[in-house]
Point group: C2
Chain length 457, copies 2
C-alpha cells in the first residue's frame, strides 16, 4: 500500500475550494477578454536550449528539467524544461509566429508555471500566472500603458477583494532622478532602492546610516533627497499631477518619464478608472531589470501585508534572443495561486456554494423517470443539476445538499405527482414552496439570476 | 540568436484556432457542470513512487520524469513524474481526501497529460483529457452507468460535430459469452478480440484462418459463433433489447451483464437520449484491463476513420494501491487535443470568429476619450471590445478587423459626433448603419445574442 500524497509546494483543493478558485480564474479570463485580449496557450515544457537563454535569473528560479524514460536511461542533459514564467514562452511564441500575428499583438495566457522552490509555507512550486501583454512591432504607443490599470481595475473590482490601489511609477523618471543626484549606474540605483525597501523593517534611521556609510558613501543631502523622493504617494488625480510638477526640471530621461506618466494618468480618466484606485508611488522599481518605462504594482488597502497582487510594466524588447525584430511591449501578471491562498488565509475569500445549483431528490424508485425529466428541464434552462439516483432517507438528502453547498433541493413524491407540482427547498433560507412542474425551471432560473445579481452567488 | 521552436508532439495554436479550441473545452466543461460534476485539478507532477504503482502499462506510456536543477546535479532517481492520465491522479486524490469527500463523488477534470510518444503526425506528447467519473464507496448503482451516455449526448450535440453514436457493451456479457464458447481465460479472450479487431484490415477470411490455426486452435463452429456475436450492432432501442434477448440463456455472469445493459438502455430513455444516438456493439472491450462492466465508445457517423472520440466504462475498484476502501466507479474521457486536431483535419471545425466582438476605430486623436467611453459602455454590457489606440487609415482598420475575425467595427468621427451617433460596420454582412451612442451597447448585445442563437457564432 502506497501512502497517497503530493509533493510539498503544490496547491490541491477540495471541490468547494476549487469552485471558488475557478470562479477567480473565470473573472480574470472574462475581463481579459472584455478588453480584447486573445487567448494563447503554450506547452508546459520548452526545449531547454530555447528556455534557458542565459540572461540570468534562471538558476535562482530553480528550473525543473524533464526527461522521458528512454532519455533518462541514456543519460545526458535533459532536452526539455518546465516553463518558470509565461514571459519567455510568449517571447518564443511571438518570434516563432511573428508572420502570422497582427501587431500590436494582444494576448492573455492563464497557465501554470514551475519553480523548484524550497518547501516553505506560502511558497509554491506550481502556480497559476494570469498574464496579459500588448506587443508592438518596432514601436508601441504609451497609450497601451494606460490600458493595463484599466484591466486591473476591472478584474479586482469584480473579484470583490475590497478597496485596492494601483501604484504607478516610471523607470525613466526613476533613472532621471537618480542621475540627477549623481547615481548614474543602473546597478547602483537598484542597490540603493533595495536598501530603501527595508525602511519598514529596519527603520528610516538605520537605512540612512547604511546609505551614508562605507558601502554607499552617499552625502547626507543626497540621502535626504532620495528619501523624500521615494516616499512620494499621490492622494488624488490632481495631486498626482502636482507631484509630477513638484519634481522641478530634470534631465531629458526624467522629462520623458514624467510626460509618459502624465499621459497614462490622463488616459486613466478616459478609461473610467476612479481616482481612488490609482496613485503614484515613486519607490516602485520592480525587480526585473528589463522594465524600461511604466511599472505597476497593486495592493489591497486593507491587507498591505499581502504585498502586490498584480504587477508588471513596459519593456523595450521582448524577444531579442529569438528574433532581430524589435518588439516593445507592456504587460501585467496576476499570480492567482498565491493570491487565492493569501485571500483565504486573510479570510477574504471563503468556500463557495457548489457549482451544482439543484439536487433532485428521490424518495421512491418508481419516480426516477420523473426525477430525470425534471433534471433535464433544469439543465435545458441552464441550471446545473444533480439527480439522486438511489433512494435515501430525506434527512440524508438534505444533509448532503447542505454539506455540498447545493442551493435547492427538489422533491417530487406521490403527493406532488398527484398535483403535478415540485416541492422546492431553499437550503440557504430554509424556505419551502411548490412550483408547477412546467414552470419550475424558468422560475428557478430567475431566482438564481437574482441571487447572482445580489452578489449572493 | 536561438531558433524559436517547440518540441515535436505538442499542439500550439494561433489565436483564432485557440479560440475555437477554447470553445470546445468550454462546451465540455459547461455540460459536465450541468450534470452536477464538481471540478478537481491536480498538480501536473506526482511523486514517482505514487504515480508508478507497477500495475503495468507505465513503461509503454513512456513517463516523463521531472528533476529540479539541484536534484539533477546530485544525480539519483527523479522524485517526480508528469501524469500520463487523469485516472491515477484521481485515485490518489480520492484516497488522500477520502474523509473530506461525499460519496458518490462526482468529479470532472480538464487538464493536460504527458506521454513520451515517438514524434509522429497526430501523436501528442502533451494533450488535454476531459474526464468525468462517479466514485462510490463500497458500492455504486448501475444507474450511474446510464448517466455517462447522457452526458456524452449533451456534449457532442452542443459541439455540433454531426451525427454520432454512443456504442455500448458490457464486459460481463462479453466474459459470459466467451466462457460459454469455452474460452474462460481473460487474456485469451483479449487476444481473440484483438484478432477480431483486424477484420476491417485483413478481411474476415484471413482472421478466421488465424483463429482456427495453430495459434488459437479454435473449432470452426466456435469461430462462427464468435464472429456472429461480435458483429452485433443494434439499430434502435427495441432492436437493442431484442438483440440482448436473442443471445439466449447464459451463465450467471452473462445474465448479470445482460441485466445491466437492459437497465442502462431503459434509463437512457429517461435521460432523453434519442435512440439514434446509441447502439449496442458487442465487439467493444476497451484496451484497459480494469473495466469490469459497462463500456463505451463514441463514433462520428460520417467520420468513422477518426475512431472513438469519447470512451470509458465501469471499474471495480479505483484506488486499491492507496486505500483499503473499496471504491467502484464509472467514467468517460474525451481526448480534446486529438479530437480538435482530427476535426480540423476532417474540415469539421474551422477557425473561429474572434473572441473580440467589436473594434472601436480611431480616425482622430481628439476622439480617443470618446472611443474609450464607447468601449466602456460595450464592456459593461458584456461585449468584448478592443480600442484602436493609434490613428490609422480607415482601410487598414477594416482590414485588421477582417483578418482578426472581429464582427463589428465602430466609428465615431466628427460627423458622427455632431449627431451623437456611432457608425457600425458589420464585417460579415458588410452592412453599415448608425446607432445612437446611448443605445449602441444594448442593440449590439441583442444582435450578438441573436447571432449566437442562430449558431452563427
Amino acid at each position: 500500500m502506497i501512502k497517497p500524497r503530493t509533493t510539498p509546494g503544490v496547491m490541491e483543493l477540495l471541490p468547494r475550494d476549487q469552485i471558488a478558485f475557478q470562479r477567480m480564474l473565470d473573472v480574470i479570463r472574462r475581463n481579459y477578454e472584455r478588453f480584447g485580449f486573445l487567448p494563447v496557450e503554450t506547452p508546459v515544457f520548452e526545449l531547454s536550449e530555447v528556455l534557458l537563454t542565459k540572461t540570468g535569473g534562471e538558476t535562482e528560479r530553480q528550473v525543473y528539467f524533464v526527461q522521458s524514460t528512454g532519455a533518462l536511461e541514456q543519460g545526458g542533459q535533459p532536452e526539455l524544461a518546465l516553463r518558470f514564467d509565461l514571459t519567455v514562452p510568449l517571447a518564443r511564441y511571438v518570434a516563432e509566429h511573428e508572420h502570422d500575428l497582427a501587431f500590436p499583438f494582444r494576448r492573455y495566457q492563464i497557465q501554470r508555471v514551475y519553480r523548484g522552490e524550497r518547501a516553505q509555507r506560502g511558497r509554491f512550486r506550481e502556480f497559476y500566472q494570469c498574464d496579459i501583454d500588448v506587443i508592438g512591432k518596432d514601436a508601441l504607443s504609451v497609450r497601451h500603458d494606460a490600458e493595463m490599470p484599466a484591466v486591473i481595475h476591472a478584474v479586482f473590482s469584480e473579484l470583490e477583494v475590497g478597496p485596492f490601489t494601483i501604484q504607478l511609477n516610471n523607470r525613466k523618471l526613476l533613472r532621471g532622478f537618480f542621475e540627477g543626484v549623481g547615481i548614474a549606474d543602473g546597478e547602483r540605483q537598484a542597490l540603493v532602492l533595495r536598501e530603501i525597501d527595508k525602511i519598514d523593517k529596519r527603520g528610516a534611521e538605520a537605512v540612512r546610516a547604511t546609505l551614508v556609510g562605507a558601502d554607499f558613501g552617499l552625502a547626507d543631502d543626497v540621502v535626504d533627497r532620495i528619501m523624500a523622493f521615494v516616499q512620494v504617494r499621490s492622494t488624488s488625480h490632481a495631486d498626482a499631477l502636482a507631484q509630477l510638477e513638484a519634481l522641478g526640471a530634470g534631465s531629458e530621461v526624467l522629462e520623458q518619464g514624467r510626460s509618459e506618466l502624465r499621459e497614462v494618468l490622463e488616459l486613466l480618466k478616459g478609461y473610467g478608472v476612479p481616482e481612488k484606485n490609482y496613485a503614484l508611488n515613486f519607490s516602485i522599481a520592480r525587480g526585473l531589470d528589463y522594465y524600461t518605462g511604466t511599472v505597476y504594482e497593486t495592493t489591497l488597502d486593507e491587507h498591505p501585508q499581502i504585498g502586490s497582487v498584480c504587477s508588471g510594466g513596459r519593456y523595450e524588447n521582448l524577444a531579442s534572443h529569438y528574433t532581430k525584430s524589435k518588439l516593445p511591449g507592456v504587460g501585467i501578471s496576476i499570480g492567482a495561486t498565491r493570491l487565492f491562498w493569501q485571500l483565504r488565509e486573510a479570510g477574504i475569500v471563503s468556500t463557495a456554494e457548489s457549482s451544482v445549483q439543484a439536487l433532485v431528490g428521490l424518495m421512491d424508485d418508481a419516480r426516477l423517470p420523473d426525477s430525470l425529466d425534471i433534471a433535464r428541464r433544469l439543465r435545458a434552462a441552464g441550471i446545473n443539476a444533480e439527480v439522486q439516483l438511489e433512494v435515501k432517507k430525506l434527512a440524508k438528502q438534505f444533509q448532503y445538499a447542505d454539506r455540498a453547498g447545493i442551493r435547492f433541493v427538489l422533491l417530487y413524491g406521490e403527493d406532488e405527482a398527484a398535483r403535478n407540482v415540485v416541492k422546492v427547498k431553499d437550503m440557504a433560507s430554509q424556505d419551502q414552496y411548490e412550483l408547477g412542474r412546467e414552470e419550475l425551471a424558468s422560475v428557478l432560473k430567475v431566482e438564481l439570476e437574482q441571487l447572482r445579481a445580489m452578489g449572493k452567488r
